[in-house]
């Protein structure tokens, strides 16, 4: 991968969403403008020893457009074509066979060329450009046509079929089976692969296009460092060097040219600061538990003795646990035997057994409440982020309106756009901070994290509030300055938070209440019952 420097590519990423503090109309300024020194902050001490101007949570990546991907393949093919002195078609087939590992291909080929050629479905035979031929007395072995002047074709193996059959065969492979890189000769038992040049003279242009699309796809899918942008209708691919085993150390967030931001590790939307594994668990837990947990919290209590969850569906306060047969009072959770004869009214709040039971009850509720605490905040930011998207569309209208009403120029109203973008990005981050925090053990770092989270959240809510002012208000210059300041502040708080979390993650300093790698126990780390209270 040394020949791609001159490609069109978007080097590194966070630029577009981290405008520096005062300079809102410059969206491409990026990290070079970001001046950490203009607000002395103790939290930033850590990152001073990091490589200069490289934020810890930022990872390098490149975005490739379809033409770049094509060019990369062509370059590799040309290189192999020159080094090994084989045709480009053969080079392409060999490269695909070796999953585009050029070094291994060259090494193996130098070692035993015949074996490699055979394994990849190529074998040496007299070369020559592929062409259609009319051969007297030819009978197509597929359709049994034998009329005069029948055009026929064969690749190097010499298995010759009429052009109609060949076309039919190829179009079926390409269109119905989505096969491209490994279409074999139609002959029984012949594993010679049909190369791109032969294909080009045989099939219609639409099919050629599809064929090359499929070939490009295998190029990206074969390489671990390349992934398709998951945004709908986006044809770009992103290259990033982060390996799967590093995912407990970094959250490799990348941003496509189409402006979609996603995690290179798991292809989900940007989920900084939470690492992929936590995200996976959290999403599973939410899918499994959130509604159930809400209902349980509202409608049930646990048996004071065996902690079974009990729903009271009618009847008196005299409960008998179906599981352990413990008898207790639903109201005070105390022993029923101590209730004496005051059957239907429980006013025995001070009794010790009741107190203890309520205590235990409260403890076992804590984990549930804890989960709901984080879940509700997570869900709230998720929803707000959605609402902010609506606001974003309204913003565009607002900006037009502003230009008309206040006589401001286009560039002068861009601060609203910046504000809206900042809101969305920050909310996305905030949302995941709650999932992240759910899995954090309590310690000093967690407290710093929560401080950062609180600061960001307050800043975001503040900005969100300003943003919803009527247009007349927005036009006033003091509010404009305020919004610009707040936008910058939000972005800055987000950077600080992500810096801190990413740095600790890279150093392995976070302590989670679940194992970050390895298999997840069934039902999640703390489903319903209480990882917390057991600790």
């Amino acid at each position: 991968m040394d020949s791609e420097d001159d490609f069109m590519s978007a080097v590194s990423s966070e630029d577009d969403i981290l405008p520096d503090d005062s300079d809102n109309d410059d969206m491409s300024g990026g990290e070079d403008d970001f001046d950490f020194d203009d607000e002395p902050d103790p939290d930033l001490g850590i990152q001073k020893d990091a490589p200069p101007k490289k934020v810890a949570y930022d990872i390098s990546f490149k975005v490739y457009q379809p033409s770049d991907i094509q060019k990369q393949q062509d370059d590799l093919i040309n290189e192999v074509n020159m080094i090994l002195d084989i045709s480009k078609e053969e080079a392409a087939i060999l490269l695909r066979y070796f999953r585009w590992n050029k070094e291994r291909l060259i090494e193996d080929y130098m070692d035993k060329p015949l074996k490699v050629l055979e394994a990849a479905g190529l074998f040496q035979a007299a070369a020559g450009p592929p062409k259609l031929e009319i051969i007297p007395g030819f009978v197509c072995d597929i359709c049994c046509e034998e009329e005069e002047g029948l055009q026929s074709f064969s690749i190097k193996c010499g298995h010759r079929y009429c052009v109609d059959c060949y076309r039919h065969y190829l179009s079926q492979k390409i269109q119905e089976e989505g096969e491209a890189a490994r279409i074999q000769c139609p002959a029984d038992g012949c594993n010679l692969i049909i190369d791109a040049r032969s294909l080009d003279i045989l099939v219609t242009p639409e099919l050629t296009e599809r064929y090359h699309q499929l070939l490009n796809r295998t190029y990206v899918e074969d390489k671990d460092t390349l992934k398709w942008c998951p945004a709908p209708d986006c044809q770009n691919a992103v290259e990033c060097g982060v390996k799967k085993k590093d995912l407990d150390k970094v959250v490799p967030t990348v941003s496509c040219l189409c402006s979609h931001r996603f995690c290179f590790g798991c292809i989900l939307n940007d989920h900084q600061p939470a690492p992929c594994e936590l995200v996976k668990r959290w999403l599973k837990k939410c899918a499994d538990d959130s509604e159930t947990a809400n209902w349980i919290s509202a409608n049930t209590k646990e048996c004071p003795k065996c902690n079974s969850t009990i729903e009271k569906n009618g009847g008196c306060n005299h409960m008998t646990c179906r599981k352990c047969k413990h008898e207790f009072c639903w109201m005070c959770m105390g022993l029923w035997s101590e209730h004496g004869t005051s059957w239907y009214s429980c006013n025995r709040f001070e009794e010790k057994s009741g107190l203890d039971a309520r205590d235990a009850q409260a403890k076992s509720r804590v984990s549930l409440e804890r989960y709901l605490h984080y879940y509700n905040r997570y869900a709230n930011h998720e929803q707000s982020a959605r609402l902010d998207k609506d606001i974003y569309h309204k913003t565009e209208k607002k900006m037009v309106q502003l230009q008309k009403e206040s006589g401001m120029s286009w560039i002068e109203v861009q601060y609203l756009n910046s504000a809206s973008q900042a809101l969305q990005t920050c909310r996305q981050t905030l949302m995941w901070t709650y999932a992240f925090a759910f899995y954090l053990a309590r310690n000093n770092q967690t407290e710093i994290f929560e401080e950062n989270q609180k600061d960001l959240e307050m800043a975001v809510e503040g900005l969100s509030g300003m943003f919803e002012q009527p247009v007349v208000e927005l036009a006033k210059s003091n509010l404009k300055v305020e919004i610009m300041d707040k936008t910058a502040y939000c972005n800055k708080r987000r950077v600080i938070l992500l810096e801190d979390t990413a740095h600790n993650l890279a150093e392995g300093r976070w302590i989670f209440n679940v194992e970050l790698t390895g298999v997840m126990p069934s039902g999640g780390p703390s489903s319903n019952s209480n990882s917390n209270s057991r600790r």
């Binding site: 359709c143 049994c144 079929y161 029984d188 012949c190």
Partner: protein, 182 residues
């Protein structure tokens, strides 16, 4: 359609010189897509002495799509489903492995070969495959019992469901014709 010519040729070839122990005929003279084959259990195997009905259906897209081959007669075999469908697992018939130049003669020969040499490593019936590997005597006993129970007497093709639109009802008559031609 070009494929008509191919199918007609293949039918002519297979009826004139079928693979060993097989007779080939159409289920219905007007439908070249539906073949009925009778197979004598190969000598020296547990299937010897049995007569097996095999249905071969050619898709509209034949020869670009593989034929569908099923056993109409119940058979105790690791690679044939132990039910009325009688589906066969044959590598060459998988859609992505099928080559349009492959001839039906080769397909039929492969089916016959499967009776001579079951492929327990690629089974449809894992239990029978295990038995085949671990207790060959028991397997052969069971296979023979199936032959006695299902594969004696005139071959019936109507046991298999979904014999295609071309009228599977007349199958017994067609199979009679087939045995006469060999």
């Amino acid at each position: 359609m070009a494929s008509q010519k191919r199918m007609a040729r293949e039918l002519a070839q297979c009826t004139a010189t079928p693979p060993d122990g097989m007779t080939v005929a159409l289920a219905n003279d007007s439908d070249i897509h539906n073949w009925h084959i009778t197979l004598d259990g190969p000598a020296g195997t547990a299937y010897a002495g049995g007569k097996f009905g095999i249905i071969l259906r050619l898709p509209d897209d034949y020869p670009f799509k593989p034929p569908v081959v099923t056993f109409a007669t119940r058979i105790y075999h690791p690679n044939v489903t132990n039910d009325n469908a009688g589906s066969i697992c044959l590598g060459m018939l998988k859609p992505d492995a099928w080559k349009p130049a492959t001839k039906l003669f080769a397909v039929l020969a492969a089916v016959r070969q499967l009776l001579e040499e079951p492929q327990p490593d690629d089974p449809l019936e894992t239990r029978i495959a295990d038995e085949y590997r671990q207790d060959r005597k028991e397997f052969e006993k069971n296979a023979r019992a199936y032959v006695l129970r299902y594969a004696k007497g005139p071959v019936k093709f109507d046991a298999a469901p979904a014999a295609g639109a071309g009228g599977g009802k007349e199958s017994s008559g067609a199979s009679g014709g087939a045995s006469g031609s060999s």
